[in-house]
């Protein structure tokens, strides 16, 4: 790996100013105490049941996401810039979504090739011309950001469908405050605990009815879904019902939930189910998770969905390269956050470049998520690279390639002690009448030495994220 930016140290001996207070505190702690606190954290996560389900080999098992007690700290100036960049980016993405489902000006202007949108599996023609509340499609976005150097941030993915992880952001903070209250006296850490209130406000604003007290529900695929803890957590924190598809039904294009006191009308659904499974009548017929007739209710303007159906067309990896163009097209502004240079393997030249440089590149499936089915060239064996080459050649249109970024690293507890591990950041951006977010987000950390894959399904852990107030 090339040299990478260390979040805590500017060189081997120098601590960055915003980590001073933490580093000083850490140096005073005895290893025994730290060990004991780490064990306490794990026990608490077990007891509280903050687990995620694993797909594949150990199907059905519940696992803990490893939690690291060294926080990821970002200073106020950098956060201010990040926040401005996020507002700008998500605003443009929502404008784009409204546009492709209405006038398609961006296609008419030739900024994005028409077939890139219309042939995209995530484009939902059923949403064409449908009015959604406040013209917002992606109410909740989880934008993945990495740092490659001083002030140098890149957006990796926009995640506009059903981004998860915010419950870990909240639980990690709770855990840190419980384990190390003294730390929070020494550092002015911006609070994040009001996220559920912001979310509830946002969801209420997604009601198509003019009601002062709309009924909001969280729709989950059920307790065997990997993010079930989060669904239950957010519903409880907001004080709204956690429903499954079977709890809802549509009658005359209106959504009701089945309660012990009879049917109750539902105004807003924070759905944590993918488009494909939402409505067996409109999308995948075999889906038992969804609600038959839901699309009709949306089209009739009788229920608000967050996020709206069809947001996948904006966070698809094949659309990603166009986001800077969208920002210029809709807002007339220069992008604040960088895009990672992206080679689209559906293009002949880009494919050739990718094939020639496979061992240096990161190659991702256009429709992939969760860190599955990707190649990290520099971290792979020759045989792995060659095996991937064959898959790439068979379906070049299904892949994009990017240079391997030198992701920044943060000191992290590992078996051998404290060592730098690569991290990313997922802030959660809420769009409604305005764009809001809590300071920070979820920091994920790749626990294996040298690894750049932070996904929890691939052995990643998490850290508390501190935005220091001035």
């Amino acid at each position: 790996m090339p040299n990478f930016y260390n979040e805590m140290y500017s060189d081997a001996a120098t601590i960055r100013p915003h980590y001073d207070a933490f580093a000083e505190w850490l140096a005073q702690q005895s290893p025994d105490v730290i060990q004991q606190k780490r064990a306490e954290a794990e026990l608490t996560f077990q007891r509280v049941g903050i687990t995620f389900a694993v797909y594949g080999d150990d199907a059905g098992k519940e696992r803990l996401i490893p939690f690291d007690i060294i926080p990821r700290v970002i200073n106020a100036a950098e956060w201010t810039r990040l926040q401005a960049g996020l507002v700008q980016r998500v605003t443009a993405l929502n404008r784009f979504l409204h546009d492709v489902y209405h006038d398609q000006n961006i296609l008419k202007a030739g900024v994005i090739p028409r077939e890139q949108i219309l042939n995209n599996a995530q484009f939902r023609p059923q949403m064409q011309g449908v009015k959604v509340p406040s013209d917002i499609y992606a109410n909740i976005a989880g934008v993945d950001i990495v740092r490659a150097g001083e002030g140098e941030f890149y957006v990796l993915e926009d995640n506009l469908r059903v981004p998860s992880g915010v419950s870990y952001m909240l639980e990690n903070r709770k855990m840190m405050m419980r384990l190390f209250p003294a730390l929070f006296a020494r550092n002015r850490v911006a609070p994040v605990e009001h996220y559920p209130d912001l979310l509830l406000d946002n969801l209420r604003s997604a009601s198509p009815q003019d009601s002062s007290d709309p009924t909001v529900v969280v729709l989950t695929p059920g307790m065997y879904n990997s993010a079930y803890f989060e669904h239950a957590f957010l519903a409880q924190q907001m004080g709204v019902a956690l429903v499954q598809g079977q709890d809802l039904y549509v009658d005359r294009d209106t959504v009701y939930m089945r309660t012990t006191q009879g049917p109750k009308r539902v105004d807003v659904i924070y759905r944590r189910i993918d488009d494909d499974y939402l409505d067996p009548r409109a999308f995948r017929e075999e889906s038992t998770l969804g609600v038959p007739g839901l699309l009709d209710a949306v089209r009739a303007g009788n229920v608000g969905l967050a996020n709206a159906i069809g947001t996948g067309v904006a966070d698809d990896k094949s659309i990603y390269p166009f986001v800077p163009d969208m920002i210029e097209f809709y807002l007339g502004e220069k992008p604040i956050l960088n895009n990672v240079p992206t080679y689209q393997c559906r293009k002949k030249d880009d494919l050739q470049y990718t094939l020639d440089n496979l061992a240096q590149l990161v190659v991702k499936e256009v429709h992939g998520a969760g860190g599955y089915g990707m190649l990290v060239g520099p971290a792979s064996t020759k045989a792995e690279v060659e095996a991937f080459r064959a898959r790439l050649l068979a379906h070049p249109e299904g892949y994009i390639a990017q240079p391997t970024l030198a992701l920044s690293a943060c000191p992290t507890y590992v078996d051998a002690g404290v060592a730098p591990r690569h991290i990313d950041l997922r802030p959660f951006v809420l769009s409604g009448k305005s764009v809001t977010m809590v300071p920070g987000g979820l920091t994920r950390v790749a626990l294996q030495e040298g690894s750049l894959v932070v996904n929890s399904s691939q052995g990643g852990g998490t850290k508390d994220t501190w935005i220091l107030e001035n």
């Binding site: 007891r47 049941g49 019902a241």
Partner: protein, 354 residues
């Protein structure tokens, strides 16, 4: 509240209660087996215990000989036995997990911790080395679960459905214990007014935490009639049928909806009947006949609660052509009934697997 949520809460409480009752019966049996007795009597005792839960056939299918070790294994650890402590606690925790948002943090963490610690006990085989300590632990986790519910839950519908589950399950369990134990008593294996009868009844009383209460209420020798009276008619006795029915009636009142009138009436009728009965009336009818009738009513009440509250109501009108013909309507209402019974059988599966 959501019907499904109510359903999970109801079953969470039932399974927690059932685990406790399994532990109680095992505990008494383990203690009783320390008494001098013939190997045959000992075996008979364990048989009786399996009989309470109607599990003899299932046990025989798995085990060639009936030993204490085999029965404990079957009733504690065997995941195929739906009444084993493991099965009940798993189902309780799964139901709780499905609606953890409707529970206070404390209630959820209690259920979850019970499950996590149970894994350790199973691994260390505590139930083999020290069955008494293990069964005591199960009982205390149940006390804890109930206490934390009473101490932290807002007393709304969620609370009512938990309580309904607790009382209904307990009524069922107390009635079963009484039935089996008194049938054994009547089978001439134990002579009336002997020391053996005393120990037998004392064990029965202890299995429902009623030994000290009996002394306090009657201040007299332990007789089968008084034991039956205490466990059926004494409303102040927390595990008596009267007390359970009282709990069912008052919680049903709190959750009343448009459909529940008949179920509520049934509960009140049963409660009023018990209230007006003397133990002599019951013995005259025959304890077994009375308890069989009672268990049937409890089952009916459970089905009623399921039908009125827990099984999701179908949409009032199916989406159809604007002007449906009468004939078509009829077909639909039949479909409607079928869907319901379909859901009901689902809910019954839940009884087994959670």
């Amino acid at each position: 509240m959501l019907s499904r949520t109510a359903d999970h809460l109801f079953w969470m409480a039932r399974y927690t209660e059932r685990a406790e009752n399994t532990a109680r019966m095992l505990d008494v049996r383990v203690q009783y087996s320390l008494m001098p007795q013939s190997a045959q009597a000992e075996q008979q005792g364990w048989r009786t215990m399996l009989g309470v839960s109607e599990l003899n056939a299932q046990f025989n299918a798995k085990h060639d000989t009936l030993t204490q070790k085999a029965v404990i294994d079957f009733m504690v650890r065997d995941p195929d036995n739906p009444s084993s402590i493991v099965s009940c606690l798993r189902a309780a925790r799964e139901n709780a997990r499905a609606v953890r948002g409707a529970l206070t943090t404390e209630v959820w963490e209690t259920e979850n911790t019970t499950w996590l610690v149970l894994q350790q006990h199973l691994k260390n085989r505590l139930y083999e080395h020290d069955p008494g300590a293990f069964l005591e632990w199960v009982k205390y986790r149940s006390h804890m679960s109930r206490g934390v519910t009473l101490g932290t839950m807002f007393q709304d519908e969620a609370f009512n459905f938990i309580r309904l589950g607790t009382f209904l399950e307990r009524a069922d369990n107390t009635a079963r214990i009484l039935d089996v134990k008194f049938r054994f008593l009547a089978s001439d294996s134990i002579q009336p007014a002997t020391q053996r009868e005393f120990y037998y009844l004392a064990a029965l009383l202890r299995s429902v935490s009623a030994f000290e209460t009996y002394r306090k209420v009657y201040r007299d020798a332990i007789t089968p009639t008084r034991v039956a009276e205490l466990l059926i008619l004494q409303q102040k006795m927390p595990r008596s049928l009267m007390a359970c029915l009282c709990g069912v009636v008052s919680n049903l009142q709190d959750v009343r909806n448009e459909l529940s009138h008949e179920t509520e009436r049934l509960a009140q009728e049963l409660y009023a009947q018990l209230g007006s009965m003397r133990i002599e009336d019951i013995l005259e009818e025959g304890l077994h006949q009375f308890l069989t009738r009672f268990l049937r009513s409890i089952e009916e009440l459970g089905n009623g609660i399921g039908r009125d509250f827990l099984i999701p109501l179908e949409p009032p009108v199916q989406e159809v052509e604007p002007e449906p013909e009468p004939e078509l309507m009829q077909t639909q209402s039949q479909t409607h009934t079928q869907t319901r019974s379909g859901t009901q059988s689902q809910s019954q599966t839940q009884t087994q697997t959670g």
